[in-house]
Subunit: 203 residues, 2 copies
DNA sequence: TGGCGATGTATCGGTCCGATACATCGCCAC
DNA sequence: GTGGCGATGTATCGGACCGATACATCGCCA
């Protein structure tokens, strides 16, 4: 999942780790708090050794005045950039509709990159997610209807709140699906900018 | 977190692993799908070696007809039961208000055992959670107000949905907190059974 | 009798997190 | 002018939890 998110952000522009984390935090703020460095750096290394991204010292460090020796073993920033293979890989991941696409973090991350996803895949993911949430909803309804007397008031309250959240999300997904089928982009009351060409196509 | 959940369930009655997982699924259905065996069994072993629970073969297997030798190396069910030390440990965990208590799984699990938590701790946890969610809410509002033009329509939609969920949860928490302060148990329109004594007190 | 779904225990590799460490940079108060 | 402090920046380590997988038993029904 992190892999998809990182490739997606680097697809827009090269970045170093810290910046990547900040961008991730604003882009995925609704999903997860902030990605941990304990996940970020190992993943970056993995992507790098797989050839999806390149790992290069910052340009500012690449052209030093040469006179000045590294006084304190300066560890410059490392700027990561996506490669052509990385863009291909990103495309694959985007199109993927595995079961993990529907669990919470997976769905959120995919959704965050819907602008780069084709319409069919968007629809498949939205419907898969809806199905998932509906199953969860039914499970909660069952518990509330059948096992209510065996649970304490707080546990029941938790179930009710969860059920409410499920119902709300299903409604949200319904809207999105209907919107998607009608071919319109999602309702954006802020800055209804015209569809700006096809920038961002692979290669 | 799993530790708390397991001790909490075993506090009610002894159980074997499979049953534990099912109970967990209904009790925590609103929080997480179902606990994985890859987490459950290692945790059980950890709790066992720490002395919080005992690990004994099922009674049904303990009195076999003796004539019948184990034809196929029968691996009987293992019934786990909480120990006195385990109940103490459970009490400690319940009272704990660390930062992990406020992230999503942590909060949910604590909440699920609120019936065994004292009123002060309940209030502290609810208020901590509210603060957390309020911060998240402010973050999302900031992004929507300040960085909206840099994000695509889908990402914005995700933020909006997240913001909505935050606002809703804050309202829910407000209600629970108000309820808690007034000394009343949570509103239970189903089976308003009278408060049944103090069963479940430590020892 | 043969298969199939539920019950049941268990491991393995992998992803991600939280805590921690360490270094630089710019700025402001003293 | 200097000393601290918060933001920037890279990195590792142990641990929690998950998903896939394997294997065995049991009851039931075709």
């Amino acid at each position: 999942m992190l892999e998809l998110a990182i490739l997606g952000l680097l697809h827009e522009s090269p970045m170093h780790g810290y910046e990547l984390r900040k961008q991730l935090a604003t882009k995925l703020g609704a999903i997860r708090a902030a990605i941990s460095y304990g996940s970020l750096y190992p993943t970056l290394r993995r992507l790098q050794s797989a050839g999806w991204i390149t790992d290069a010292p910052d340009a500012a460090e690449a052209t030093p005045p040469a006179e000045i020796p590294p006084l304190t073993s300066r560890r410059g920033r490392v700027v990561y950039a996506i490669t052509a293979e990385g863009k291909e890989r990103f495309g694959e991941l985007l199109a993927q509709t595995g079961p993990e696409t529907f669990d919470d973090p997976g769905f959120g991350i995919h959704f965050a990159f819907f602008a780069r996803t084709d319409s069919d895949t968007r629809l498949r993911i939205l419907e898969g997610r809806r199905r998932r949430i509906e199953e969860r909803r039914e499970g909660l309804r069952d518990v509330l209807a059948r096992a209510a007397e065996r649970l304490d008031a707080y546990t029941l309250e938790l179930q009710r709140h969860g059920l409410d959240a499920c119902e709300r999300e299903v409604r949200w997904l319904e809207e999105l699906i209907a919107n998607e089928r009608s071919g319109r982009p999602p309702a954006t009351e802020t800055t209804p900018r015209p569809p700006t060409d096809r920038s961002g196509r692979d290669e």
